[in-house]
């Protein structure tokens, strides 16, 4: 299956986001490269606001993710609660 991926800057702000992705996507593979963290998953990757908030201890607007987003691949489905990357429906 094709891989979707998202790459985020490696810093304190993205740590709770990465932990949330790790918790919500058991199939995801996380590789820490210089100054960035790349997360790959087969076919589908879900980022949930609720899980990030649990890790962060405050309210989180999913749009905040774009401040530290480097790149991504896959079709993007985005609403207030989740950001989903996928290749097929």
């Amino acid at each position: 299956m094709s891989q979707v991926f998202i790459a985020l800057q490696a810093n304190e702000e993205t740590r709770p986001i990465i932990e949330a992705i790790e918790a919500d996507n058991p199939a995801a593979r996380i590789s820490r490269e210089p100054a960035m963290v790349r997360i790959e998953a087969p076919g589908r990757l879900v980022i949930r606001r609720e899980t990030i908030e649990e890790n962060l201890g405050r309210d989180f607007d999913l749009q905040e993710i774009h401040i530290n987003l480097i790149t991504l691949s896959g079709h993007v489905d985005e609403d207030d609660e989740t950001l989903t990357l996928h290749w097929d429906r």
Binding site: E12, R15, R32, E33, P34, E54, L56, G57, R58
Partner: protein
């Protein structure tokens, strides 16, 4: 000529300190984890304190709550020095701006006298309660165990001092220096305040740090903040022309919303640890929230008149619902 730009990844020999790797696995640790976990001095303390020879210097057995690992009581906000001071500095700036706005536009003079008098009668004596909260949190930090639990308490102590200062400032703004002297007399002598004063003073001599944490953060603050800053300031006074006061107390309302989540998380984890903990916690909560309810009734009447009692009943139901969520259903 062609320049090929590429990066070489060098695997660090260690991702984090050994004690953090043991807890969280071999991955980079957050600054909160580095600044919190296993910081508490636990070994090499050869002397018992001369002022209390029956206990260790840092003794988890001072409280009746027992935890296998005190670091389970982590702060969901993940405050350590840096994140805490940055957050509060931002809030301080916006509070300053609010006060400046009120002063530059002469808004204090536009508050109807009846509301101003009620605000002076309720808010200014509360600075003595906030000072008591400062003492109590400092005690919990000093005698509690495990940096995950004690660290947020010293921040809470600093916040309480800040709140006392904001309340003083509101007093000065609405009634000059005289307001502070009058409020102190009310705190010392007025019948309405004696229940609350007694509550605060009994807290000051409570020796169990976890019990004190419950008495202050859950029982007292859990009723007082929604009553004063929710029902009075934002609810009734604002609709009667006193919205200026809401502008001046915005920090307190925001602060309670934020710190409540931390207090709930601590209670939830401690209650889930064992049936014995749950029993002890439930007993303390019954005892202290009952007393806090009684102590706050006259204050509710002072600020809300006739509706005071009904509003207090709502606050008590809210607190019970909050505690049920944390796993303490009564």
């Amino acid at each position: 000529m062609q320049i090929d730009l590429r990066t070489v990844t060098i695997e660090p020999q260690r991702q984090a300190f050994d004690h953090l790797v043991r807890r969280f696995g071999d991955k980079p640790a957050s600054r909160y984890q580095e600044g919190t976990y296993d910081i508490q001095a636990a070994e090499n303390l050869h002397y018992r304190p001369t002022w209390a020879p029956d206990q260790e210097l840092y003794d988890p057995a001072i409280t009746r709550i027992a935890m296998r690992d005190w670091y389970d009581l982590k702060d969901p906000r993940q405050f350590f020095y840096n994140t805490y001071t940055l957050t509060r500095a931002r809030q301080q700036e916006s509070a300053e701006a609010n006060f400046k706005f009120i002063e530059s536009r002469g808004l204090a003079g536009l508050i109807p006298p009846a509301i101003r008098d009620r605000a002076l009668a309720v808010l200014v004596p509360l600075r003595h309660v906030a000072w008591g909260a400062n003492q109590n949190h400092t005690f919990v930090c000093g005698y509690g165990y495990g940096a995950a639990f004690t660290q947020p308490n010293i921040y809470q102590a600093l916040d309480s001092l800040g709140i006392a200062q904001y309340l003083s400032r509101i007093g000065l703004m609405l009634g000059g220096t005289e307001a502070l002297a009058t409020a102190k007399q009310a705190w010392l002598q007025d019948e309405a305040w004696q229940g609350l004063r007694r509550y605060v003073e009994d807290c000051l001599v409570t020796r169990d740090p976890f019990e004190l944490f419950i008495a202050q953060n859950i029982a007292l603050d859990g009723l007082l903040y929604p009553l004063v800053y929710g029902a009075m300031v934002d609810g009734v006074w604002a609709t009667e022309g006193g919205s200026t006061i809401a502008l001046a107390t915005q920090f307190m309302a925001d602060w309670f919303d934020e710190t409540r989540k931390w207090a709930d998380a601590v209670v939830k984890v401690a209650a889930a640890e064992s049936a014995a903990n749950r029993e002890v916690l439930a007993g303390w909560i019954d005892h202290w929230s009952g007393r806090a309810f009684e102590a706050l009734l006259p204050i509710a009447r002072l600020g809300l008149g006739e509706q005071g009692e009904a509003v207090m009943d709502e606050r008590r139901a809210d607190l019970a619902a909050r505690l049920a969520k944390a796993g303490l259903k009564r």
